[in-house]
Amino acid sequence: MNDSLKRLKKAWLIPSGWRYWSEVNNSVVGYWYTVTSLIFFFFAGILALLIRVQLAVPENDFLTADQYNQIFTMHGTVMMFLFAIPIFEAISILLLPQMLGARDLPFPRLSAFGYWCFLIGGIFVCGSLFFNAAPKGGWFMYPPLTSTHGPGIGADIWLLGLTFIEIASIAAAVEIIVGVLKCRSPGMRINLIPIYGWYILVVAIMILFAFPPLLAGDILLEMDRAFNWPFFDANRGGDPLLWQHLFWIFGHPEVYIIFLPSIALLATIIPTFSRVHLVGYSWVVLSAVGTGFLSFGLWVHHMFTTGLPGITLGIFSAASQAVAIPTGVQLFCFLATLLIGHVVKSVPMLFALGGMATFVIGGLTGVMLAIAPFDFQAHDSFFVVGHLHYVLIGGSIFPILAAVYYYAPLIWGYKLSDKLGKLCFWLVLIGFNVTFFPMHLSGLLGMPRRVFTYSDEMGVSSLNLISTIGSFTLALGFLVFLWDLFRPANKKKPREDNPWKAGTIEWLTGSQDQTVGIRSIPIVKTRYPLWDQPHFLQDVSEGKFYLPDALEEKRETLVTSTLDAKLVQCLRVPGPTFITLYSALFSGGFFIFATYHWWTATLISGLGAVICITYWCWSGTAWIPEKEKKDIGLGVELPLYKSGPLAVGWWAMFITMLADITAFISLIFGYFFYWTINENFLQPHTGPGFFWPMVGGILILISTGLTYFGKSLNNKNKTFSFYLILILSALTSSGGAYAFIMGPLVYKMSPTSHVYPAIVWVLVGWTALHAVLGSYMQLYCIARRVGGKMTARYDADICNVSLYTCFLALTAILTALVVGGFPLFAQGTL
C-alpha cells in the first residue's frame, strides 16, 4: 500500500469498539439507517399479520377492538413514518456519495444526528404498543377522535414522537439537496447526473414543502390536547377539518415522496439489464419534477366526502387526473428502454417488472378514486385499502427488494442467491395479489376499513379468508428474503465487484477500499462512465484523478458548481463524534418528557439539546483552515474555505429556513381557514391590537438591517463596532419578541376561550421564539469572533445568521400584518 492510500485510510478510519457508534461517515450511517428501517418494516409486517388473523373469520375475538385499533394505527404509522420515508433517506445517504462520485456528502454529522433522532423516536413510538398505550386514531389521527374523544397518551406519543422523527427527514433533505447540487464529481454537468440524483433532488425538495404543514398541524393538535386550545373544537370556533387539510397537504405528496425514490431505483436498474442508456432521460426528469409539483394539488381528494363545495372537488379531481400524465410518461420510458435493449434476465429485473405491473394496477384504481362520485361510494372501504397497498407495495416494496438484490454485491461484495431470489419473488408476488386483490371486492361489497370484525351476513367472509391466506404467503416470501440475507453460505462466496456489468459510477466503489469510498474523485463526462469512458475504472483505482491523498490526514471531499460541476472548493468534513448522539438524546428527551407532561424534565432536556447543538456548531463547523488553498491533484489548487452563497453551510441554512417558513405559512393558512368558516371570527376589540404587532415587526426588521450592517463591519475588521452593532441587533430582536407577546398579553387574550385568541397566540409565539433564536445566533457570532473562530476573512457564521434574519424578518412582517392589520382591514377600519 502506498503512502497516499495509507494517509487516506487513516483519515477515513472507522473507529473500533464502542467508539464505532461515533462514526458519522455517510456510508456507515446509511447502513445503520437501512437496517433500522428494515427492522421497523418487519415489525409493522408482523402487526399486519395480526390484523389479518383477526379478520380471517367473521366475529373473531383474537384481538379486542381496542387492541385492533392500536395495531392498525401502528401498522400504518410505522410503515409510513418509520419505514417508507426513512428507507429512501437511508438508501440515499448510503448510495448517493458513490453515485455522485463524491467521497462523502457535505454534512455527515447532520446525517448521524438525523439517524439517532429516527432511532430514538422510532423506539419510543413502537414501544408504546407494549404498554397498551399506543395511538389508536388511525395513521392520519383525525380529530376530534384524537382530541376531545382521545384520552390517554397514545395520540401525544404519535404527535410528539413523529414530530421528532420529522426533524430527521428535514435533516436528510438538507443533506441530499446540497449533496446533489454541490458535491458531484467534477464534469458531471446537470445533463449528466445519474437519474437517481434527479429523482432524489425532487423528493428532498418535496419534503421541504410537505413536512412543515404536518409539523404545523402537530403543533395545533398537541396544543389542543395538552392545553385545551380549541383548534379542533367546533363549540369554540375550531374545526376538525383544518387537521385534514394540513395532514393531507403533507399526506398526498408523501405518497410520491415514497414512490419517486423507489421508481428512481428502477430507472437505475433497468438500463443496466437492458444494456442501453435510459430512453428519454429528459422525459423522465420531466416526470420526476412534474409529479413532484402536481402532487401538491391533490390533497382534497382524500376529503371528497367531507362536504366541501362541489366546485372545489372539481378542481382537485381534475388535478388528480393530471398527475397520471407524468406518472405514465416515466413508465413508458422504462418500457421503451426494455424494448430497445437486450434484456438480461435476473432477480432484480423480476422485482422491477413485478413492481411496475403492480403499480399500474394501483395507479388505475387511483384514477378511479380520483373521480369524486366513485370515491363517495368507495371511501373508507377496503377498496381504498386494496388500492393504497397496490400503489405502495408495487411502487415501493418491489423496487426496494429489486435494489437490495441489485446492490448486494456493492454493499457486501457478493450476489444473493438467484434461486432463493426467484422463490422470494414468486411468493411475494402471488402472496401480495392474493392478499390485496380480494380487498377491492370486499370493499365494493361494503366492508369498511378500521372495524375490528364483521358479520357473516355481509358476504365477505371467503374474501377475507383468502386475503389472510395470501398475507401468510407474502410473509413466507419475506422469510425467504431474510434467509437469503443472513444464511451462512454467503460468507463463503467469492468477491464480485460489478457482476451486473453496470455503467453507473457507484459501481466503482465495489472495487475500491470500502472505508475511503472512491480511491480518487474522477472527472465524469458521460451518464454511464463505466461503459463509455475508456480506462475509467483503472484510472480511478490508480488514483489518477482528484484527492487521491489526504496529506493532512483530514476527511475531505470536493464542492462543485450547480450546473456544470466545475471545481469550487475542497471541503473538509467532520469526523467521528458522540455529540450528534447526545444532541439527539436531549432533543428526544424534550419531546418524550413533554408527552408525559413532565415539564421540568422537558425543560432540562431542551436546555441540554441547545447546549449540545451549540457545542456541535462551535467545534465542528466553519473551521478556519491552516492554509488558504490546497493541491487536490492534477495540478489544481482549490480554496479550503468559502462563505456566503458559495458555501454549502449557507445553502443548508437557506433550505432549512424554506421548510421553516412553509410551516409558518401553514399556520397562517389556519388563521384564514378559521376566518372563512366562522361568522364572527375576527374580534379586534379582544386584541392583539395594531400597535404591538407593528412595533414587533419593525423592531425585528431593524434587527435584520443591523445584522447586515454588522456583517459588513466584520468584513472591514472593525471589531469593536461589530460587537456593538450585533449586541444592539440581538437586543432589538428580543425587543421584537417582547412586543409581539405584549399584543395578546395586554388585551388579556385567553387562548382557551375561542379559536381566535388561540391562533393569534400561536402566530405571535412562533415569531417570538424565532426572534429569541435570532438573538442567540447573533450573540453566538460575537462569541465566535472573540474566540478567534470567525474573522474578517473567514465569516461563514455571520453570513448564515444574516440569512436567518432575512427569513425572520419575513415571518415578523407577515405576523404583524395578519394579526395586527387584517382584523382592521376586514372591518374596513384600515
Binding site: G280, S282, F293, P309
Partner: protein
C-alpha cells in the same frame, strides 16, 4: 449561445401552476364560504383572467424552452459533455415541464367552468 441558464428557471412554470392553482382554490373557497351573493360569472371571469395570465407566462416557457432545445446542431438525448448540450437539455426539460404545467392549468380552470354551485 447564451450560457447564463439557471436551474431556477425550471421551477418557474410549476411555480406559476402552483400560484394559479391556489388562486383558483381560494377564489372558489371564498365565494362559497364568504361571498355567495357574487354572481358565478364574475368568479369565472376572474378565473379566466388568472388562467390567461398564467397561460401566457407558461406558454412563454414552452416556446423559449423549445427554441433553446433546437439551438445549434446537437439532437436528443443531449448527453454530450458540452455547454451547448447542457443548455439544450435544460431548454428541452423546460419545454416539457412548461407544457405539463400548461395542461395542468387548463385542467384546473376547466373544472370551474363546468361546475356551477357550491353544493
Amino acid at each position: 449561445m447564451n450560457h447564463k441558464h439557471s436551474l431556477w428557471r425550471l421551477g418557474l412554470s410549476p411555480a406559476i401552476w402552483g400560484i394559479h392553482f391556489l388562486l383558483c382554490y381560494i377564489a372558489v373557497a371564498l365565494w362559497c364560504a364568504k361571498f355567495p351573493w357574487i354572481d358565478l360569472q364574475n368568479i369565472r371571469l376572474l378565473v379566466f383572467a388568472f388562467t390567461l395570465l398564467a397561460s401566457l407566462i407558461v406558454g412563454w416557457g414552452v416556446v423559449s424552452g423549445l427554441f433553446r432545445h433546437r439551438e445549434g446542431e446537437g439532437g436528443l438525448p443531449h448527453d454530450d459533455d458540452s455547454l451547448e448540450d447542457r443548455e439544450r437539455f435544460l431548454g428541452f426539460t423546460r419545454f416539457l415541464i412548461s407544457a405539463l404545467s400548461l395542461v395542468a392549468i387548463l385542467y384546473t380552470s376547466y373544472a370551474i367552468f363546468i361546475f356551477r354551485s357550491c353544493e
